[in-house]
Symmetry: C2
Subunit: 375 residues, 2 copies
Amino acid sequence: MTREKLMNEAEFQGRLAESGLDAVVAVSQTNVIYTSGAVISTQTSIPDRLAMTLLPKDGEDAILVCNIERGLVKNESWIEDIRYYREFVRSPMDLLAEVLMERGLARGRIGIEKRYLTAAYHEQLLELLPEARIEGCDDLLEQVRSIKTKGEIDKFGQVNLAAERAIIEAFGETKAGDTDKDLLELILDKVAGLGANDMRFAIVGTGDQSHLAHPEVRSKPLEPGDLIRVDIGADFSGYCSDVARMAVVGEPSDRQKEMYRKHMVVQRGAVEQLKPGVRACDVYQYCVDAYAKAGIDYSLPHVGHGFGLAGHEFPMLQPYNTAELRPDMLICVEPAYLDDKDLGGYQVEDLVLVTDDTPEILTTYSNTDGLFVIE
Amino acid sequence: MTREKLMNEAEFQGRLAESGLDAVVAVSQTNVIYTSGAVISTQTSIPDRLAMTLLPKDGEDAILVCNIERGLVKNESWIEDIRYYREFVRSPMDLLAEVLMERGLARGRIGIEKRYLTAAYHEQLLELLPEARIEGCDDLLEQVRSIKTKGEIDKFGQVNLAAERAIIEAFGETKAGDTDKDLLELILDKVAGLGANDMRFAIVGTGDQSHLAHPEVRSKPLEPGDLIRVDIGADFSGYCSDVARMAVVGEPSDRQKEMYRKHMVVQRGAVEQLKPGVRACDVYQYCVDAYAKAGIDYSLPHVGHGFGLAGHEFPMLQPYNTAELRPDMLICVEPAYLDDKDLGGYQVEDLVLVTDDTPEILTTYSNTDGLFVIE
């Protein structure tokens, strides 16, 4: 079934005109999905077997893939000009050069994702098209993708809300004495029941592991006083969540309540910063300052990130990114305190839509005012 | 815990001397694991965040990673010279250039994996080291990796034997009326019980899906007469299996028996071809001819592949690969017939060690003379 076209055409055409490029060639899995609808899993598992979309300024789009992907691309993509190369027989660059020449672009300015294309393929392309100007177009595509369409906002909102719901429902059915593994399996069942078909990542940190970025699940029973930190990427047919929630086993201690409260003041404050014109680095600095006020040093490299097909996307909320926020950006806000085994790890991650006015939190299934209590 | 060094040092030193390179820089996840022992998962999930090993002709090896991977690399790698860059602050290429200059290689001949390094990083490196000669070393590393050490042969043999055993035990506990999903879950339980900590891929094609390369599991009950084709990549701490077995529900029909027999004649014949000096393309042609004798057209792009950390490795048994087999290569032999929904899919995949003499099948847990019968 052809996938719904959610790409931001207006933004793309605007950026393309501004760039002066004659065509853009997408080679990363994310941008091939974005610009064609085709989800080609071997793009990451077999890097030599390139799939590409050609988006010319004039004329129709084309998709260039290994002949093995014939059926999949016909089923999933809305692009009608589909070109194939046979693996081991012909280089994908050879086919790309052919199609570019056919489109009269042998001397054109061609943008290609240089942060994904390998040096070997790049050198081949330069040899095959000695008169073309081959330039990077990574920034162009990531900027286009950062401004979401209505369809994307709905889709990513649904997906993250479902993932949040799965976590909270799993918390609700968990008891002291169950293990971290039981909790993980319950979450897997819940997201599957809500329509997810895969899990890209699932962080379940409990007790003396709640502060670890990527704890290993160890089948350890939950004990009163244990903090629980869950962060999951549940994949709903190519659209993946990124949402984090916390719980505590039994009544939280005063110290836990206090740390959680301090943390949520920063997180909610950060959400409020997400307005058009505010720079990504300013949101980072806001969190550093707000934590400092609460007596906490912030040590992580970012406090959140643009969110879309790629998971972490432009704009990263990191100290060196001066990009300004714009309406219709989706941002995962996740300042986190993961420094101390004894204190435990504190992280609540929400998906937020930047609007002309007040930022809108899309992950609203649960109430995050206090720690969720597991009996 | 530092991982055991299984890399083929003798082969590497020989190839390095032959190449005339002053140093080799590994950038792919596979070659970083191979040359350092460190399994850095973000190498594939966050492609910008490079991890590299520097293997100079003279002097000690170094590993260059993002500071976030500090703890992991110290734990897992045997390399003692560990260098860090801070993400968003400094490009990994900048650190690489610094270390190469420190080693007196600013004007050296540097081999780097151009089939993995991106064009953007490659251009940065060329600017940072204008007097160095930067060359591709992909072939060198894949050839080194193709000749396995005793440690690797033992490890990959154990892993594939365990995966085979899991499949056969799961077949033995499956009954007509169970679903393809039940079978998959049983296999997952079995491999986990045998020590696997992840599943990279799991193909379970049953009934009218046994011929599909990548069937979707659909919770359909197994019926008498259904063919079952299973091919799994079970990951044992970075060492992953690739083994396929078949079964049939109830007594096989005469046609199924005949097809299986014909198929296994080709598969066993192909195994016998795996002797030093035989070319990869000759093994492919052998299968095409042997199938033709049985009245079957062969349509798949390869009949097997070198096997190691990367799964599919050099040498691919494909029609254009004139590379010669050598002792201590591990080869997955998997000619397959997947053309016809009514006939069903036939594939048995074994791991084979090339020796000076008779090739040795390492996946010997089960008897593949006839189809495994599920009651």
